[in-house]
Each structure stands twice: as C-alpha cells, then as structure tokens.
C-alpha cells in the first residue's frame, strides 16, 4: 500500500460493528458522523445517553443509525464493550474520551483477567504513516502501550505488527529494529535487543518477516546511508515496520512525522481479540477516521 487512502479499498464485505466506550468527546462525534455514510462501520455508543443525544443535536449530526447503550459509569461502559466483543456483537472498540482517563477505562476492561479480551497476549500499538518522502506506507510500533519493552515483549510487539501487515497484503514484511547506533553496544540495551531480534528472525523464532538491527534511523530508511556504514541488507531503505526501542522514541517519531512531515496516519492496537482504536487529542478528525478504517480493513 502506498497511501493511507488505499486502506479504504480493503473494506469488509459486511459492515463491522464498533463500540465506542464512555463517549463524551466532541472530536469523536465528528469522526463518527464522517464515517457513518461510508457504510463500512455500524456504531454502538456506550455512555450517558442524554448527554450523547444533546451533543449530537447541538452539532446537528444525524445519529439515527447509531445505537446508544445508556451507561453513566465509565468503567461499566468499558466492561460492557468488552462483553459485546466476547458475545461477538462488536468487532472493533474505541475510546470515547481522548484523555488519559478515556484510554485507561478501555485499557482496564480489555486486560481484565476474567472478562478481558487480551488472553495473556501483549497488546501493542502501531501507527501507519504515509510520508511524501517514502515510497510506501511505513508502520511504527509501539507508540502507546509498552513503555520499556524487554526482549520478550519486543518479540510480541513485532508479531502483532507483522500480523497486521500480512492482513494488509504484505506476506513477509521487512522490520527495522532501531537503536541510536547500528553497532552492538553493551551499554545500549536497544542495540542488543535489535541484534537478538534479527537473529531470532533468521532462526525462525519470529516468523513471516525479516528483521535487520540494530539500525540507526538513517540506516533504516536510506540504503545509501546503510551502505556507507558497511551494512548490506535489503531491509535498509525499504522497511515496512520500524520497531522503536521504547515508547518515548516511538512517540516522538510519531509526532515529528505528523508535525514536521505532515504525515497522514492511521493507528490501531493489536494483540487483543479485536482491534482497538485509541485516538488522542493531537489526532485530526481525518486521522480518527483513518484509524477506524484501518481497524475495519482487518475484516476485509
């Protein structure tokens, strides 16, 4: 895929159902209003029914096709959404408040040991970018969920990302495992993780992908820079996925793409039994729609 708009082409044959948890945020109302006419996603809002109707009316949005489940307690709303996933009634969930509270409401319900939908797996977040200076869509992970992942967590994060790319039609995505430098340095754990991940892919311990690392960012995205450093790898200059060493790096990279490179972006969290869309305040209404379309494309 070359453009974020290509995601919409991979649409599910039947509309998929989305549950929005504890919805109150204005931004999300607009995203919902924008996505409804596409007939790809049906929407269930879980939250304070009176508030929801009032906001929709005030914004003059047509919510006649939206199902609303009245739940005034945020945490109960999260639990309800997960129940709907477990009963097979919804295929995507999204936070309805673009705050830390909103993310934690959904997060807690998802990871609940008894009723949750994590099933012991690591959930990780991937952002897919369209950059004008790069020849295809590129994923960055993990931008939100795992703060300081260890080797085992990075394996899971990579597997989640690889699965998404395979669904999007890339059977063997190329993964660049980033460090601050491209050499193994014992005082930089990221470089050691990257080297080990690269070997694990070689040994078939991480399947359906090739991994090169450690790579500095320039080596990862430019083959010329890689060759200059003596690195001969067909991943350099052509990665599908950039595995960041930690969440700070991934987050800063995300924001620099958005703010300095005017990137188009779609993000989802993978690893639970259904895709989770976690939008944030910095996202444009377009990004929210893109993320929902990305989640729906999994069923396409």
């Amino acid at each position: 895929m070359k453009k974020i708009s290509d995601i919409e082409k991979k649409r599910p044959t039947q509309p998929v159902r989305l549950a929005v948890v504890a919805i109150e945020d204005d931004n999300i109302f607009e995203a919902i209003a924008n996505i409804l006419p596409k007939n790809i996603i049906e929407i269930i809002l879980i939250g304070h029914e009176k508030k929801i109707t009032a906001i929709a009316k005030e914004k003059n949005l047509d919510f006649s096709k939206v199902k609303i489940i009245n739940e005034e307690d945020d945490h109960q709303a999260g639990i309800k959404a997960v129940e709907l996933v477990n009963s097979g009634e919804v295929q995507i969930i999204m936070n309805g408040q673009e705050t830390y509270h909103g993310a934690s409401v959904i997060g807690r319900a998802v990871i609940d040991k008894k009723k949750g939908i994590r099933k012991g797996k690591i959930i990780s977040h991937l952002s897919l970018f369209e950059l004008k200076d790069y020849h295809k869509l590129i994923g960055i992970t993990d931008t939100v969920m795992n703060n300081m992942p260890n080797l085992k967590a990075k394996v899971a994060i990579t597997n989640n990302a690889v699965l998404l790319f395979r669904i999007l039609g890339i059977p063997k995505p190329k993964v660049a495992a980033l460090g601050a430098v491209e050499v193994v340095n014992e005082s930089m754990p990221a470089t050691m993780h990257a080297a080990l991940l690269s070997k694990m892919a070689q040994r078939g311990q991480i399947k359906n992908c090739t991994i090169e690392g450690p790579l500095a960012f320039d080596n990862a995205i430019s083959q010329k820079h890689a060759i200059h450093k003596g690195i001969i790898s067909d991943i350099c200059g052509d990665p599908d996925i950039i595995l960041a060493p930690d969440m700070e790096t991934a987050g800063i990279l995300y924001q620099s793409f958005v703010f300095f490179a005017q990137a188009k972006v779609a993000s989802i969290a993978m690893g639970a039994s259904v895709p989770i869309v976690l939008t944030s305040k910095i996202d444009s209404p377009e990004t929210r729609v893109n993320s929902l379309l990305l989640a729906a494309s999994i069923y396409g």
Binding site: L151, K152, E182, V183, V184, E186, M192, A195, L196, S198, K199, M200, R203, G204, Q205, P214, G230, I231
Partner: protein, 307 residues
C-alpha cells in the same frame, strides 16, 4: 593479498615448514627440573624444532638428563632453584628478546603466569590471555581451533570478543585470513535464559557490523550445527560457517574443557595447545597430556611468528 582461506588438513601439514625455518626458535622452560617437561623438550630439540633454554634447579636437571641419557652439550642452563624465581627469570629472558617461546615446567600455573602479566617486564600484549587448542580429527576435513578451555572461566560478551580477537590473530598467522567462527550454545536458537545463546547472537551481529574484524561469526550454533553442514541444513540453518568452522568458541571454560578432553580421550586426538595474548606463544601443558600433545604444542608455537 589473497584473502581466501587455505584448508589445512592436518597438523603435519601445518608443521611441515618448521624444520625448514632459517633460525631455530628458542624455547625457554620455566622451572625445567621435571622429568616430563624435559622429555618433551629434548624430543622437540632432537627433531630440530626448537633450541632449549632451561631455567631451573641445575642439579636436578643434570640428574634427570644423566639418567635419561640426554646430552646437555650446547644447552643453556640458568640455575634458579626457586620455582617462582625461575618463572620470573624465564619471562625476563623472553622480555630481553633472548627467547621465542615460553613453556611451563615444574611450577603451578598461577605462579607461572604471574610474571607473564607483570606490568614492567611481562609479556602480555592483548587485552587478556586466552587458551586455544588446535585439533585434528579424522571426522573433520581440516584442523580447527577450540577456545577457551583453560584460562577464562565464565567470559562475558566483551571478554568473548577479546578471546576471539586473540584467536583470529593467531589463525591469520597460520594462513587463514578470515576464519569462520562458530559461537556455541546448547541450541541454535536465541533463548533469553541461556546467556550463551544471547552472547553468540550478539557476537555474530558484531562481526557483521565490523566490530570484530577479519572473520565470519555464526551463532548460536549447537556443536553439531557447527561441524556438520548436513545437521545444520536439517535445522534449516543456511550459513557458510555451518560445517566449515575454523574456530569453535565455547560458552564457558567447562564446555570447552569437557569438549577438549572428550576429543582427546574418546576420539584419540593429540591437539596442539597454546596461550595467546602475549608477545610470544606460551605453552601450558599439564602432566596428563600425552608426549604427543606436548610435542605438538611446542611445534605449533615454533611454527608461528606472533611478533
């Protein structure tokens, strides 16, 4: 310079040049007053592999040689009765440039090595001393090296890098410009609870990145993958090192030592062993080593110029 590795099939092939060298190397024996070491030294001398300089208790040396019928004519003997002093004197002789190889006689290894590491007159040039055995087996198509079965107990990543640096330097002197190295583990996969597999994977990447030069490192490899291409292929390993290893890097001293001894006792090998990391080859034979191992070790030491 031709960078292709030559295949050295056996120790005889490696040693064939020794007697033809224009100048015979001088072997300095630290605490030479010992029957076993004198047997080995005189055998090597008779074959014109080395010329001995005996440092030790002259009276005992004379008694042993008399009994054994070894001629002391033209043999330089430096009379030092104390073993510790003999070890120091032997190192000083090398340090003055009067000897070419150092061998341990009737003295404990730790006492023998202490002057080697002395800052003032010692011989260390590398970052550490390490032990390497060159092994010839009928079941393998060339000689290979095993390290480190004697000196470094539980080397960490950096120490393994240094051990390899010593080994690579030595193999290059033998005419193998880019040795293939198998970094061994108990299995060929990266296992977070097996440090050996982690170290091996990292060393492999470090060689790829040019952090360890003049070699190819594959790892983790289990022993069978390292020495048998067929076995490696069964595991789906596609590596130019598999089945072609010139150097086996053991994860720790126990693995190297047990492997070395099993090769000696069950496979009948007579390896040549050497200590690397000093300005000259150092030989540290043990009493249990066969005459042949001692002679091979001396010959190996005589066949390279480390300086």
């Amino acid at each position: 310079m031709n960078q292709s590795n030559k295949t050295i099939k056996n120790l005889a092939g490696l040693f064939s040049q020794v007697q033809a060298q224009p100048i015979t190397k001088k072997l300095v024996v630290a605490a030479a007053h010992d029957e076993h070491i004198l047997d080995a030294v005189f055998m090597a001398w008779e074959q014109n592999i080395i010329e001995p300089i005996l440092v030790g208790n002259k009276k005992i040396i004379t008694e042993i040689t008399k009994e054994k019928n070894y001629s002391l004519k033209n043999v330089e003997i430096i009379d030092v009765k104390d073993k510790t002093e003999a070890a120091i004197e032997a190192v000083k002789i090398i340090n003055r440039g009067e000897g070419d190889i150092l061998i341990k006689g009737n003295v404990d290894s730790s006492i023998f090595l202490r002057p080697v590491l002395n800052r003032e007159y010692g011989l260390r040039v590398g970052e550490t001393l390490s032990h390497l055995g060159i092994i010839e087996l009928p079941h393998y198509h060339k000689i290979f090296a095993l390290t480190d079965g004697a000196l470094n107990i539980a080397p960490d990543l950096d120490l393994k890098r240094i051990i390899l640096k010593n080994s690579i330097h030595f193999m290059r002197k033998l005419g193998i410009p880019k040795p293939k190295i198998a970094a061994l583990g108990a299995l060929e996969l990266v296992h977070p609870k097996m440090q050996a597999t982690i170290d091996a994977a990292l060393l492999s990447k470090m060689a790829q990145r040019g952090q360890i030069k003049d070699c190819i490192i594959e790892g983790p490899l289990s022993f069978d993958n390292a020495i048998s291409k067929k076995s490696a292929e069964l595991k789906g390993l596609n590596s130019e090192v598999a089945g072609e290893a010139d150097i086996l890097l053991a994860p720790n001293i126990e693995a190297a030592n047990v492997l070395y001894k099993s090769i000696v006792y069950f496979a009948g090998a007579n390896p040549a062993c050497i200590i690397l990391g000093a300005s000259v080859p150092i030989i540290l034979t043990s009493r249990s080593d066969s005459e042949k191992i001692k002679l091979n070790s001396i010959t190996l030491a005589a066949s390279v110029n480390l300086r």
